[in-house]
Symmetry: C2
DNA sequence: CTGTTAGCGCATTCAG
DNA sequence: CTGAATGCGCTAACAG
């Protein structure tokens, strides 16, 4: 188990017969050191099984080579995909990405912010839990460190933002659907998420804008359970034959699952469209027609934003439509 | 963006007209402080927007109220479910769980260990990337701090372990299958993962032990892509009608997806069994028959292990069978 | 190129 | 109950 007391630079210096400064310079490689001493230091360090104490280093320096990421929920495959891509993007420049889950709670989110700020992270990437109520946390973070909001954003805070153009994504959905579906016989229903996050908000906006302000709408949360429940309600309310646009793949997954369980066919009886296009969810059967977010580019963009310590700036990426088996092939319905 | 320099305890002390010691005692609540001064301190702290510097505190104290978790891959829904449960378990006792992804790489895993040790975490939870090759990392971790291996373990290291009895899980699968499937007409094929991790190893062992040492076996990795590929090979090699036991839900998902795409029916033409029973994957359609791991109990067990600073010890949990629609109802085949 | 020294921010002795 | 002083482990100035 735990060693009694781990070796310190002073220990290494003593054993190697040099000063602590030489040890520091040798191990961090900040300055040239005589090869002979260098060897003695590395040997002594190895013998004592020395590990740098990053806490001491962090206290002395300003930077920690650490970036914090706070996600609302690790079980949402879209967020874990983002986390994974970010970790990969920061790996090459030697920056550690530390992930903290807010577990859907504003209090836990605030705790995460305090925790990362207290740890002196170089930058903080934050997927806010709530569009308005996360404002305090975002403001505290942005006041102390370079903060980048990801995927969702709280309006009016002076921090950077990286995300996808949700309205444009819904426009892609509209273009695809109008091309292959008879909207009179198979009207659109939106199964979305209540506008507590900007992404939920904007996707709902997009649907109303590109289809119609009166699109029938069921709003819940970003979960498969909600998708199932919504599908059950649609069947109960006589929405047989609808074209179901959803706010996320994970919702779409629940919708598809319930409909198939109830003996409906897709895309025969119903059509279902997802959003995100990322992670294992996208591998569902039948394959989901969805709007794919370019998560890899988004992660790289965040890395670039942090490395070049510029002014806070925002970047919206363009999503793309991915055709699957939950919607008819383009043109099939109208030309058939 | 970043403030020029954040307020320190000395700043607060100056503004409140007291000593830094009083500020420290007031804010951490370690000792009784005169209510009048207490008020002055809290007001000064609020005015300066003071945030404790955890780096300074960590350097002074031994503990950091932080536990590190290293996962091989965040995109695997089983690992992110574990991470989520652990975060939740540690939330109540006021411990921050910081997650680091090894991204499937031994080097990154080693970096994560060094990083967390350097940050003076109170304990380290580690899901090793590889059964043998992660040994060095585990040993380094265990020598410095209370280390708990999770789900997978490296043999011969003196650290704690929490996981599920994989062989018992496969026994549940055997019991279920022998009850409802005619194994002569619908022989078992195992689609597993190459034994690089102890879980892959033990599940393969279990299949060979409870079914037969000669069970036909395809080994890949823990991914849906591998499941698809394996299914394609089974079809190509004439394994029509097989009962497919897999090493993980995520593999089973790929298998099911490919088979359905190729027009096969489940559980008519093929039967598919998963393993893990956790996360969105478990919500697939058709619902997966799988072996569920008690992740919540496992997370609580780890918390308990860390709080009571005992000897390194191991705990194996018993998994349970969850019936889904990818296998026939019990008894249906043999009695029908 | 190397050694000595100071101080990052904090919690904790030890006096009072 | 409060304040002054010490040092956690490290790196950056500075002087040699």
């Amino acid at each position: 188990m735990a060693a009694h007391r781990s070796a310190t630079m002073a220990d290494v210096a003593r054993l190697a017969g040099v000063s602590v400064a030489t040890v520091s310079r040798t191990l961090s490689g900040t300055r040239a050191v005589d090869p002979a001493m260098q060897r003695k230091v590395t040997e002594a360090a190895a013998e004592l099984n020395y590990q740098v104490n990053l806490v001491g280093r962090a206290l002395r320096q300003t930077r920690t080579s650490t970036v914090g990421l706070i996600v609302p929920d690790l079980e949402n495959p879209y967020f874990s995909a983002l986390a994974q891509q970010l970790a990969r993007a920061f790996s090459a420049p030697g920056i550690d990405l530390l992930v903290f889950s807010a577990d859907g709670s504003l209090e836990t989110e605030a705790r995460g912010v305090r925790s990362f700020l207290g740890r002196q992270v170089d930058a903080l990437v934050l997927i806010p839990v709530h569009e308005q109520l996360s404002e305090a946390s975002v403001a505290i973070a942005a006041a102390a460190v370079h903060t980048i909001q990801l995927d969702r954003h709280v309006p009016g805070t002076a921090s950077s933002y990286v995300g996808v153009s949700n309205r444009a994504g819904m426009r892609l959905v509209r273009d695809h659907i109008t091309e292959c579906v008879d909207l009179d016989a198979q009207p659109v229903v939106y199964v979305g998420a209540a506008p507590g996050s900007s992404s939920a908000h904007e996707r709902l906006d997009g649907v109303r804008r590109w289809f119609s302000p009166e699109v029938p709408t069921l709003l819940g949360d970003f979960s498969a359970a909600w998708g199932r429940e919504a599908a059950a309600r649609l069947l109960a309310d006589g929405w047989e034959g609808a074209t179901i646009v959803t706010a996320a793949d994970i919702i779409a997954l629940g919708v598809v699952s319930h409909l198939l369980h109830q003996g409906r066919s897709i895309p025969g009886d119903f059509r279902v469209i997802g959003f995100d296009g990322v992670g294992a969810v996208a591998l569902a059967h039948p394959s989901l027609t969805t709007v794919r977010q370019p998560v890899e580019e988004m992660a790289q963009s965040i890395r670039a934003l942090i490395e070049s310590d510029e002014e806070p700036s925002s970047r919206w990426f363009e999503p793309e439509l991915v055709l699957g088996a939950t919607s008819p092939a383009s043109g099939s319905e109208l030309s058939g």
